[in-house]
Amino acid sequence: MAGSLKDQSCIVGIGESKYSRGTPFSDLELGLQASTAAIEDAGLKPRDIDAIVIPGGFGTTAGDYAACFGIEDLRFTASLEEMGGAMTVCAVETAAMALVSGVANYVLIPFVARWYSGMKAREGTANEASRIPAAIAVRDFYMPYGMGAPPQYYSWMCQRHMLEFGTTHEHLGTIAVTMRRHAQLHPNAVMRDRPMSLDDYMNSRWVTYPYHLLDCCLETDGGAAVVVTTPERARDLKSRPVYIAGIASGHPYPAHEIPNRKDMFTIGLTHAAPRAFAMAGATAKDLDFAEIYDCFTFQTLQQIEEIGLCKRGEGGPFVMGGRIEVGGEVPINTHGGLLSQAHVCAMNHIVEAVCQLRHDADLRQVKDAELGAVCAWGGHGHGSIAVLRR
């Protein structure tokens, strides 16, 4: 198909730092740990990398990595700050475009987040000098009312969904408990060995109603990276390639202003998901698993609906009965997600999807996994989705 990115690029290397709350390492050191691991996993040498896509945030630049890796002729760089947390999967899309167009041969995507040791998201949005695109709306029209933190404006959407569709805390809690259960199966999950029950969830304090503490993702430190190349080059490398079958990103409208959208639920992913599935020649019903940007429980449910695993409004009942657990119909966040593994803006979700499709996921392996999706969310509802196949 002319112009399509379908199956024209592959993820061939994955790497992660240790995820933790508190770290002695700098952003660049964490990024180098993850990148070195990803390059080694691919069977490449650092100097083979000829393009670096920096999703954004946290101060590391392509030039920093190139200087450390001895890359004297870096052909292409990009940064995707506007996407917010959706920048990670969007960076894979950018890498695919660079590869298919012949601009680059081996693209490194390093991402670092020090949410625990560095600046909190809620501080960034309220900062006068903030580079976050929604900053003006937030600073001038939300912050005078003390409304500048992600759990606040995302819970507007949650509350509206509860009122319109009858979604309950039992539904949301089931998502939180499932992510925690999955984290018990992952050696590099911050919440491993800290199991959680639905009662624990229900009894956790309100952060901003309808969000309990345990509706909210972790604030952790860590880095994750992937290497992307073409199928021809992938054949010579040591790891089994995972194909990018479909990939797309999208934006809510207006992108930076939540209250004046036609509805609270149409987000970037609503536009992006049909594009990605059409490219892949698949639908949500074909997915063996999905790794979904779980910044908050409801945003997970919302994305489950918007990619078409169920209809809008039916996400609550959908997540019940073990359906989203490993061993269930469509396991979600098999690594524990942002809620219970670590918050690396879904770079960890991409790494986990590759593990699943290589059939390297040990105790949390989805049996016979052939097709999976990674969804990322950012800013006030930007979205990106990769449909990946074995």
């Binding site: 029209f141 003390g146 409304m147 606040q152 309100w206 207006p254 209250p259 004046n260």
Partner: protein
């Protein structure tokens, strides 16, 4: 209802451009939003062009100040130290009768007793000599 300027430490809008114009109207007890003079579409937060028809012609049009609760969140954890004495407080999206929606507070009601579509009306809080913040209260029946 003015609060003494010396003790007001909450975040204020950066008073320049469209933002200053919006809040200066509030100081005069007027709630105005941008409205396209070509196609009539309201818009908020402010921007220079109509997203519906791309006209650059617009005016600050006054609304009646009545609206209803569209959605809300009740903040219990003091995510910002300037609001630590206000928790729990609700950040409410109010839909004005004319159509535009805005973030505000609904005062005079327990935040956990807010209801969908609760009718509210604007009032103006002169939080500093320079800045007036529009807030809402339930309409008495």
């Amino acid at each position: 209802m003015a609060s003494p300027a010396s003790v007001y430490e909450k975040p204020l809008p950066l008073m320049r451009g469209y933002t200053k114009e919006f809040y200066d109207f509030c100081k005069n007890r007027e709630l105005r939003f941008q409205r396209c003079t070509k196609c009539g579409a309201w818009r908020h937060t402010p921007r220079p062009m109509c997203g519906d028809c791309q006209s650059l012609e617009w005016k600050w049009e006054k609304v009646g100040g009545k609206g209803k609760v569209y959605t809300w969140t009740v903040t219990f954890q003091p995510l910002y130290k300037q609001f630590k004495d206000d928790v729990p407080y609700a950040g409410v999206i109010v839909e004005l009768e004319e159509g535009p929606r805005m973030v505000s507070w609904v005062t005079g009601v327990d935040p956990m007793q807010l209801k969908l579509n609760m009718p509210v009306e604007v009032w103006f809080d002169d939080v500093t000599p320079e800045v007036t913040i529009p807030k809402f209260r339930p309409v008495k029946s």
